[in-house]
Symmetry: C2
Subunit: 201 residues, 2 copies
Amino acid sequence: MNFYGNSLTILIEELAKLPSIGNKSAQRLAFHIISLPEEKVLSLSSAIINAKKNIKHCSICHNISDNDICHICKSSKRNKNIIMIVEDSRDMAAYERTREFKGLYHVLHGSISPMHGIGPDEIKIKELVTRVGTNDNIEEIILATNPNVEGEATAMYIVKLLKHFDIKISRIAHGVPVGSDLEYIDEITLARALEGRLKVN
Amino acid sequence: MNFYGNSLTILIEELAKLPSIGNKSAQRLAFHIISLPEEKVLSLSSAIINAKKNIKHCSICHNISDNDICHICKSSKRNKNIIMIVEDSRDMAAYERTREFKGLYHVLHGSISPMHGIGPDEIKIKELVTRVGTNDNIEEIILATNPNVEGEATAMYIVKLLKHFDIKISRIAHGVPVGSDLEYIDEITLARALEGRLKVN
């Protein structure tokens, strides 16, 4: 229902199309936006346009970037012999926040999921094989796809494709999350944590 | 930290400035936006600009509108002799959704709140007095400010200002909300519901 005139109603409708924004939140956001000074509204709206316009995929790792080659692939401080394979740029960002990984990434932009009609050709697997095949310095591939059915299937598929290269391929460890409470952790994770136990003495 | 290049990082920062949007939600929204087709991104961004640009206050009731006079004040189907006073256009919309009120509104755009430095002059009270003073047909003023300290104070202040006009002034009823559970309702509301009890036989 149009209580506020067209412009505000259209804005509320547009905001309500965004994920996890319901009608009430859209209304609250819209009222907030119209209460902002004009330059702030302009900078929000141009951030939206510019992000859509400027964003491309790094031609090496397919990470999201403003440039043809992303800042990680371009950096001289990274170890170019190790590649971590992630499903998504957000997973890359999650690993970057740890500051523990100094290699390069390969962003698949998805995982193999026959349920959703996503096969190996829909994600950047061919590009990975080409990248590995044309780069003699790669020493290790770390599979950091998600620890769920699709992520595991994708990891296994990649292992199969890359096994004829003479490269170490590893998978990030499954186990109990740090800070968690054993009684709430599912059996499969507990079993994996037991399986992957490390000697401490 | 800039993991995704400038454009996307700026968008995430802009979105995170919105109320109740944290960093994680901003990131999710930003990724959603860049995954949209270009025309949808344009329509979101222009909805933002247009809402800010086109929105004005109705010169009669101060409701938010695209026009000088809002569709409610303009309508020939409304009873122009009854005015409901609300704090905010959203409260107006809430009453419109009931489809029970056929009069006009007066939107104060706030409530008197000395704690937040908002006095009677910061909200549309002068405009209300002028409106009532220059309009001989008004029969009733319904005070529908919020049932909290500021809303009650604002209502009382308006009663004082308008009492020399020969107009009925009423306040929406306090009581137990429909569909609620008595055991969870605060004592003041229960006391007001008792006080305002209606004869049913």
